[in-house]
């Protein structure tokens, strides 16, 4: 039998019953130093921003002198990035679905104006004014989500449009006038809740800083430990595949935009505490700053890849650079210059570590 050559379909499968049933296992070839680093970074993409953050803190600790390395200054950096950090959390949600949201900061400023106007000028109790701003944030997010899923606009265009719409509404409602901090203190101190702080030694942790950390921790849990979070990643990875695999992609997308809108409204409340007043002209570039934090945090603009914690580290890296360069006496324009290169280098590193396969 074994001497006759195989001719029919039955013959060529005849030896299958003897096939190996063990799970395959191989010795791994030594990768070398660079290869090993590349591999570890591929498996843990958040390491890159963490390393950059620690390295930049160390470098500025040396360059900018001891004033940089004080608990006070480090906690001040946390305060300074808290608002952009919260916006970056909302931005991450959208970018994970392969979208982009240019309207995050506009939603935030609009909601801070709405809650401030209601509380200060119309005498609405502060808690109700805040709840109304939350509902407004969710509604603004729903509008973005509706434009993206129902009207089928690309997220860039939809949110470019709503950015302008929300900014104009904000100027109309506020009359382009700021609401003064003293007025807020008088009638609705609750609006400034997140400006309060607890002192630990010379460090001052504001409630706004704690809110930022809480937002990231909750979103990390939702994205990694719940089915909904896995669906967000799947939609960003390949929307059509997710749809065929039985995920209600459009509904999930609308929920993502609504959640992002709600987080923007939270940022609005926190921003009143941080700034101390409500200015319709503030945070005009907040959308781009939030995208910067997300990109430096190693989250792919093409969706489906990256960890939300990266955005937190990305925001902190920007804060550390700005603070360190300022304390080192470097002109503001070179801060902007440095942030620009950070973005380019972050994405270049990201491309490099993507080249390995796990």
């Amino acid at each position: 039998m074994s001497d006759t050559p195989t001719r029919s379909n039955e013959d060529f499968e005849a030896r299958l019953k003897d096939s190996d049933t063990a799970v395959a296992d191989f010795d791994h070839a030594p990768r070398g130093m660079v290869g090993a680093i590349q591999h570890v970074l591929h498996a843990n993409p958040t390491f890159v921003p963490v390393i950059v953050l620690l390295a930049s803190i160390a470098v500025f600790g040396v360059v900018a002198g001891e004033r940089f390395f004080t608990p006070f200054n480090l906690s001040l950096i946390m305060q300074q990035v808290s608002i952009i950090g919260i916006l970056a959390a909302a931005q991450t949600l959208i970018i994970l679905t392969a979208g982009i949201d240019l309207s995050v900061a506009a939603i935030m400023v609009l909601m801070s104006v709405i809650s401030g106007k209601l509380a200060v000028e119309f005498g609405v109790p502060a808690p109700i004014a805040i709840v109304i701003s939350f509902i407004g944030g969710i509604a603004a997010g729903y509008l973005n989500g509706w434009l993206v899923t129902r009207v089928k606009l690309p997220p860039f265009i939809a949110t470019l449009g709503t950015w302008n719409v929300f900014f104009a509404l904000n100027l109309y409602l506020s009359g382009a006038q700021s609401i003064r901090g003293s007025d807020i203190d008088e009638v609705a101190p609750l609006l400034k809740f997140f400006g309060q702080s607890i002192a630990i030694g010379s460090a001052r942790l504001t409630y706004g800083t704690l809110l930022m950390i809480a937002v990231f921790v909750v979103l990390w849990y939702v994205l990694n430990k719940t089915a909904w979070g896995r669906h967000v990643y799947m939609i960003g990875d390949d929307k059509e595949a997710a749809e065929l695999a039985g995920i209600q992609t459009d509904r999930t997308l609308r929920q993502v935009y609504m959640l992002a809108g709600f987080i923007c409204a939270l940022a609005a409340w926190a921003s009143i505490g941080r700034v101390g007043s409500i200015s319709p002209q503030s945070f005009y570039e907040g959308n781009l700053e939030s995208i910067t934090a997300v990109v430096i945090g190693g989250i792919s603009l093409f969706g489906g890849r990256g960890s939300i914690m990266g955005a937190l580290f990305g925001a902190l890296i920007v804060g550390v650079f700005q603070s360190g360069l300022r304390l080192a006496g470097v002109d503001v324009l070179w801060q902007v210059f440095a942030i620009g290169w950070l973005i380019i280098i972050a994405v270049a590193i990201d491309q490099w570590i993507r080249k390995v396969s796990a």
């Binding site: 499968e13 063990a22 390949d238």
Partner: protein, 258 residues
């Protein structure tokens, strides 16, 4: 005569000026393996998409278990018990094998954590995924949590087939399930198809592999130019006649005459 479990009548689907389905009929009997064969572009995949809810046909009716159904999304078809392996596989490359297997029907942890916080039961899902892959003989996958993009084409197809086989309750549709698989894995898929029929679940198999089709199919649906040309019995027709029918070299009447 028994009623078909899944029945379609007069399905029409047009994409602009291209007619993919031209008044196509389809019958799937309970507990059978029905093969669908046809030339490239005959409309096999369009037919499958229409009955699995991936597209909404322009005209025609679909009946499942005697009730007329209309699926707005693949999810609804899945909830009705129709599971499909698409040619594109519908897998998310950056996510793990486990995540892909449970896409849309994840297991939650028992008790408070699962109910109130929606926490996923990662361990149970990994165990299940590993079992299903082993059943298919996919022993070359070492790590159940590796991203699907790191798998070979055949392994990916194995994951998609394992997913459908694990969850399909009423009908399982396989669009070219063995196209990228090796000899051993193809054999396992064919065994699995027969297993599934053994459990009483009918299977629709779309394939260009005539030996596979003739080995497992109870009936063969020949699709040509967007409609059902005829249904033949693999025991009473030769492979070459089936190919002649599907390419138009022979007409169904010729068989009756022969």
């Amino acid at each position: 005569m028994t009623e078909p479990l899944l029945k379609a009548r007069g399905l029409v689907k047009r994409y602009g000026r291209v007619t993919a389905l031209d008044h196509a009929d389809f019958d799937l009997m309970p507990g059978e393996i029905l093969a669908v064969i046809g030339d490239n572009g005959a409309g096999k995949s369009s037919l499958i998409k229409a009955i699995s809810g991936a597209t909404l046909p322009d005209e025609g009716t679909i009946t499942l278990d005697g009730r007329e159904v209309s699926y707005a999304s693949p999810l609804q078809a899945r909830e009705a018990g129709i599971e499909c392996v698409y040619q594109t596989l519908a897998l998310s490359p950056a996510l793990s094998i486990t995540d892909n297997m449970f896409c849309g029907r994840e297991l939650r942890k028992p008790g408070l954590l699962g109910k109130w916080f929606g926490m996923l039961d990662q361990k149970a899902m990994e165990k299940f995924a590993r079992e299903k892959l082993s059943e298919l003989g996919l022993m070359t996958i070492q790590n159940i949590n590796q991203p699907v993009e790191t798998l070979s084409g055949g392994q990916r197809q194995g994951v998609a087939v394992a997913r459908a086989a694990a969850f399909g309750s009423k009908v399982i549709i396989l669009d070219e399930p063995t196209a990228a698989l090796g000899v051993k894995e193809s054999r396992k898929v064919l065994d699995l198809i027969q297993d599934v029929r053994g459990r009483g679940t009918p299977v629709v198999l779309i394939s260009h592999n005539m030996p596979h089709v003739f080995e497992v199919a109870d009936r063969i649906h020949i699709h040509r130019l967007g409609r059902r040309l005829c249904v033949v019995d693999p025991k009473s027709i030769s492979m070459s006649d089936a190919v002649a029918l599907m390419t138009g070299a022979m007409r169904p009447d010729d068989i009756a005459a022969a």
